[in-house]
């Protein structure tokens, strides 16, 4: 029947491999006769398919440049390029397989014990690094968003989430759905049904359950999806694998009232010498090959195991046409025979030839999610397994994961095995001998044993080795299994790709409503927080940046200029208790601010550190309008809302940043320009400095604030974003007779520096309080409690250690970079926060922090430029218009 379906091919190391639809890469390769799939991490031993379920590390390959792909479960696609990894030079012949002969040089922890000399280690470590690692890092690409698969994130809230689509999970989903609960059923296979899918028992019953679940409307089925984490408050992290090339992996976040874990068991290897040879396979892997793909993994098989399970496997093999040479009890096994591939088995009594050893391994309850969520795992002797108990509320376990149908797979005899070829951990090549040595050395706690030997720290995340390593640790240190305990289960398990976790690239760029206007005006862009802002506007190619900035500067100082300040944070605070909230959160008093007035505002944290600054305008009794620094907007909104929690105050905090287009019109001619566009009386005695009005500007509803960050008479004009372009154009039009110029952020920075106006986050940092920053007037210690009051009260009485000062360079060719250090006889005494060339007096000016004892007006200081001290002088008052007359014109 298979032969009639469309075949396709992919490349494996240059050879073409034929595959059928539904094949995994590994299965197609196995069918084509490939037996060696990988070379092991440390000893470079040949390894072949073992679990055929994506659990063990034996089939990690590079697929289309991506390393560490589990080919046994990854669907094959036409044209794929599959290559082996960690081989020097090939899978069939690997030079580094010599390492297994040299393993006496590399016992457990060897690298800690030699190379203790610093220089020897610095020479040796690059070679060790190169030998370690698995796959090669994928080829370099730039820009995560544009070139990669479309990863996605989605969110589901449900009554019940069921993990595992075997018969237990299906039954639970159907029962819960019948009782009216919305259910999400998560199954990691490409089809529902669990292991019965490839078995011979109860197949009809299973098929019925699947049909029922699929027709039940209350059940959402996430097939080909695996749950990697069960987080606090029943949040499940689920990866949905793509069904075709156009999709990427998607992480679904499921929050459920109740979680039912029906994840069944997985099979782990038994311990005997050469248990890693190619041709030693787990029984479940063999069942899959035969049951799902009709592939016979060998001709003459020996089955290790006893009882019903071993007999069931034996009959399955025979039914498929494989000769079962012998059934061997696990305690009888001494060693698998063969150099790379199995040629036979040595038991206590005899030697048997065979080309396949089928191991009925430990059935391990797949209880990692339960353990993550806080359940205990308790050892039960007559099951030979850790069984989940003490489940957290809202979380249940059903089916095989609870220990149903499990019996011990092997007796304790193998735990005395001291072989250097009896592998406990297939990922890291840790042997029974390694573990026993480490325990002798004192690493007898399971957690330290794990960290010292690296057992369970590889790609299989402990699935293959955890049980065996605990057994050996318990046996050797003469503690019980429960005293020894299990290592912590940590998400994500199974592992998840970084891309899936990252999800779609949401790192969007924010653009002002006026963005295209700036573009037409030849803006040179800069990034500010999430925003694109004009740094300055370029003229002709011949005009230097400095000349452009000077031109913009002169327009503002001598005539009139306009800057787009839309990125500035804008928050409306409304309600009866709005003033109360602002009094609590800001250091100044705002409850008493008169309607129509604006006040400078600083907020501090509990330790008195400046968090943000801006202006607060009172538009009406219960309506305040706040501005914040661009980068802090979201934070300020959260901070205000945080302090509202539990207050029952009548306050609404609304972030209107994106909804407003804002400009600052400034310069001696600003009034002339604005008066052409509005009916408001702008006269200096009616619309004074630090006043606000709501009015129409060019026909648009606007909030006008008369403030002066750049040191000139000026208005901030805030209008709804839709009117932004119209108002901007109207202002430029109205100002054309005064030769108005738009100016950029850099020009604004020069202008404000001449006024020594501080930018929070540039001139202050996470240690600056308002006293040190020379603005004690913003703090009203005599008002009732506010955030930071206690700390600021102390800081007021203790001496200031550092102070923010202005300075002028003596030599106007010395321009310190922001961040340059102030030095005094070779020792650092401060740092420059901003320095610019000032067109005012053709000098270099700046702001700097300096040790308080040196912060005296007129003091000479030295600033380190290119390693040499350059002289400067302290000037505490503003460089431009220190009396502020120009603001009030």
């Amino acid at each position: 029947m298979l032969k009639t379906r469309a075949r396709f091919s992919f490349s494996f190391g240059g050879t073409s491999i034929e595959a059928y639809p539904g094949d995994s890469i590994g299965v197609a390769m196995f069918r084509a006769g490939i037996r060696i799939f990988t070379r092991s991490f440390k000893h470079h031993r040949a390894r072949g398919l073992m679990c055929v379920s994506g659990n063990c590390p034996n089939c990690l390959m590079n697929v289309d440049g991506m390393p560490n792909v589990r080919v046994c479960t990854t669907p094959a696609k036409a044209g794929m390029n599959v290559t082996p990894q960690n081989v020097f030079p090939s899978l069939k012949f690997d030079w580094l397989s010599i390492l297994q002969k040299l393993d006496w040089l590399m016992p457990v922890g060897w690298y800690y014990k030699i190379f203790t000399h610093r220089f020897i280690w610095s020479i040796v470590s690059p070679f060790i690094r190169k030998a370690a690692g698995l796959g090669k890092a994928p080829p370099i690409i730039n820009n995560f968003s544009s070139t990669t698969a479309p990863y996605d994130h989605s969110y589901i809230h449900t009554d019940v989430a069921i993990v595992g689509g075997g018969s237990a999970g299906l039954t639970a989903a159907i029962e819960n759905a019948k009782q009216g609960s919305r259910c999400v059923l998560i199954d990691d296979q490409i089809a529902l049904g669990g292991y019965r899918r490839f078995g011979t028992v109860d197949t009809n019953k299973n098929e019925n359950l699947i049909q029922q679940a699929m027709s039940e409307k209350q059940i959402t089925i996430l097939s080909h999806s695996y749950c990697f984490g069960l987080y606090e408050d029943r949040l499940l992290g689920v990866v949905q694998l793509p069904n075709d090339n156009t999709q990427g992996e998607s992480v679904t976040h499921i929050r459920a009232d109740r979680v039912i874990i029906a994840t069944g068991t997985f099979e782990a290897p038994l311990l005997f010498e050469n248990n890693d040879l190619v041709g030693v396979m787990l029984s479940s892997g063999v069942e899959r090959l035969i049951g799902l793909y009709a592939i016979n993994p060998g001709h003459q098989a020996v089955v290790i195991g006893d009882g019903a399970r071993a007999e069931h496997i034996a009959s399955l093999l025979q039914h498929a046409g494989i000769e079962v040479v012998s059934l061997v009890h696990s305690e009888q096994v001494v060693s698998a025979l063969g150099s790379e591939q199995v040629t036979g088995i040595q038991t206590v009594t005899t030697r048997i030839n065979c080309d396949l050893i089928v191991v009925c391994g430990h059935l391990v309850p797949n209880a990692g999610l339960l353990h993550q969520a806080g359940a205990s795992l308790e050892w039960v002797d007559d099951k030979g397994a850790f069984i989940p108990t003490h489940l957290p509320s809202g979380i249940d376990a059903i089916g095989d994961v609870t220990g149903e149908h499990i019996t011990p797979a092997a007796g304790p005899s193998s735990l005395n095995n001291d072989s250097k070829r009896c592998y406990v951990c297939f990922c890291e090549d840790v042997t029974t001998s390694d573990l026993r040595t480490a325990i002798d050395e004192g690493f007898d706690q399971i957690e330290t044993l794990k960290r010292y030997t690296t057992v369970s720290m590889g790609p299989c995340q402990g699935k293959m080795c955890q049980l065996s390593s605990i057994e050996i640790c318990a046996h050797k240190s003469k503690r019980s299994m429960n005293e020894t305990g299990v290592t912590t289960s940590r998400p994500p398990n199974p592992s998840v790709s970084l891309g899936a976790l990252a999800g779609p690239n949401h790192l969007s760029v924010k653009k002002s409503p006026l963005h295209n206007e700036h573009k037409e005006l030849n803006a040179v862009w800069m990034n500010m927080g999430d925003w694109k802002r004009p740094f300055y506007y370029s003229r002709t190619r011949a005009t230097t940046m400095q000349a452009c900035i000077e031109r913009e500067y002169r327009a503002v100082r001598e005539r009139v200029g306009v800057i787009d300040i839309s990125p500035l944070g804008k928050i409306e605070v409304k309600g009866r208790d709005a003033g109360k909230l602002l009094n609590l959160v800001y250091t100044h008093r705002f409850g008493n601010l008169k309607v129509g007035r604006v006040r400078y505002a600083v907020m501090c944290d509990e330790t008195g550190i400046i968090l943000d600054d801006g202006t607060i305008s009172r538009l009406s009794d219960e309506h305040y309008f706040l501005t914040t620094t661009t980068g802090n907007t979201e934070f300020v909104v959260q901070w205000l809302e945080w302090w509202l929690i539990d207050t029952n105050w009548d306050v609404h905090v609304i972030n209107v940043t994106g909804g407003r287009s804002s400009i600052n019109l400034a310069g001696p001619k600003a009034r002339d320009v604005l008066s052409q566009l509005t009916n408001v009386d702008l006269a200096s005695d009616t619309f004074k400095y630090m006043m606000c009005r709501q009015a129409e500007v060019a026909g648009a509803p606007a909030t006008l604030l008369r403030i002066g960050f750049v040191g000139e008479m000026g208005w901030e004009i805030h209008v709804p974003a839709d009117y932004g372009v119209h108002v901007w154009k109207s202002v430029l039009e109205a100002g054309s007779s005064h030769d108005i110029l738009p100016f950029g952020v850099e020009t604004q920075r020069v202008l404000r520096l001449e006024k020594q106006h501080v930018i929070v986050g540039v001139d202050t940092d996470a240690m600056s309080n308002p006293y040190d920053a020379a603005m004690p007037w913003v703090i009203k210690l005599d008002k009732e409690d506010f955030i930071g009051k206690a700390s600021l009260t102390t800081q007021q009485s203790t001496s200031v250690h550092e102070r923010l000062i202005g300075f002028t360079m003596i030599n106007d060719t010395h321009l310190p970079e922001d961040g340059a250090v102030l030095v005094c006889s070779g020792a650092p005494v401060g740092r420059v926060t901003s320095a610019r060339f000032s067109f005012l007096n053709k000098t270099v000016i700046g702001l700097a922090w300096i040790n308080a004892d040196l912060a005296k007006e007129g003091n000479s200081i030295a600033i380190r430029i290119n390693g040499n001290p350059a002289p400067a002088r302290i000037q505490q008052a503003a460089f431009y218009d220190p009396s502020g007359d120009r603001l009030r014109m």
Partner: protein
Amino acid sequence: MQLFRNNRMWGTHDLKSSYDVVIIGAGVHGLATAYYLGKLFGVRKIALLEKGYLGYGASGRNTAILRSNYRTPEGIKFYNAALKLYEGLSSELNWNLLFTQCGHLTLGHTDTAVTGLRVRAEMNQLLGVNSRIIFPAEIQELVPHLDCSDRPRYPVMAALYHPPGGIIRHDAVVWGLARACDRMGIEIHPKTEVTDIQVSRRRAEQVITNRGQISADVIINATAGWASTIAKMAGVAMPIVSHPLQACVTEPLKPFLDTVIVSASLHVYVNQTGRGELVIGSEIDPYQSYSMKGTLPTLEQMASSSVQLFPQLHNIRVLRQWAGICDMTPDFAPIIGLCDELENFYIDVGWGTYGFKAAPAAGRYLAELVATGNTSAIIAPFSPDRFRRGRLVGEKAAAAVSH
């Protein structure tokens, strides 16, 4: 073979009723303090009490990055002393700590960030620490896989390059120090949890544990994550809040990343271990908690930041995530010294996200203080009374995410 004779690393002991010094916490700080007390000052009647297994706390949960490119003179001198001690420690302990001085890069994505980096570079140079600002061409040469392309968000504008920084095997430091302590007769007691401390007449007299009661002349609180709860047992209040910090690790890859990469704007740091795994660390969680469980949002944030820096890693899988507890002080600097309230209760706490890289210096100079009463200038700025005196250390400004 003689080379690999399997000596036992440490022994087990019954808990005695009295010791000269009891150190609470057998992480790197407690172990280093005990080690230097024994080695330099001959104090060996010491018990180290550890509530979990050896290295259970922050010592086994950090991302094992060492550096000394701090911002304040106090911080630079102190962490540089620690780095110098680490450089000699493998030989001294005859135990390879796998310290690789592969270099440490702190990326600047904004003007403000670059200014901050320049302050650090300048301060470092003045104090003799090898650090300098480098620009994208040189960054790309050092880290070919880093996305230095021109892009609107998080462009790589410059970096603080600190060649002596690097990574170490954190567990190896714990084991090496523990072995050395054991050899000097110092007792390490794992699975020994302190439940109370009895105080009388301004002295901490008795330490109550789940294995019995101990008296000691000197008691040292060298815990991380539980510093304030232990201090509270002795009636001492600490200016500390505890936040989880999360990290994760990927599957191993062949070496492609030779330096430690830190991005404060992206709240992430990435390095590749000797075994080939990528270790990715985050910023401290914004909320206070003692939970050591990883959370999904933080894992997603770490992944998102990592692929911003290294887009080609999008298919690389995360194997596990974990959390440790960071004790944060108001100024992001530690607290080392004799506590104000008691005559014999020393503290070595408040290690935030920077405790591991400090351990040898903290241990060395705390040992000196305990044994001789002399407070070295190296640790003097971090004394417990600085909060009362209002003399905070300005490291918070540089420490946001700076591993």
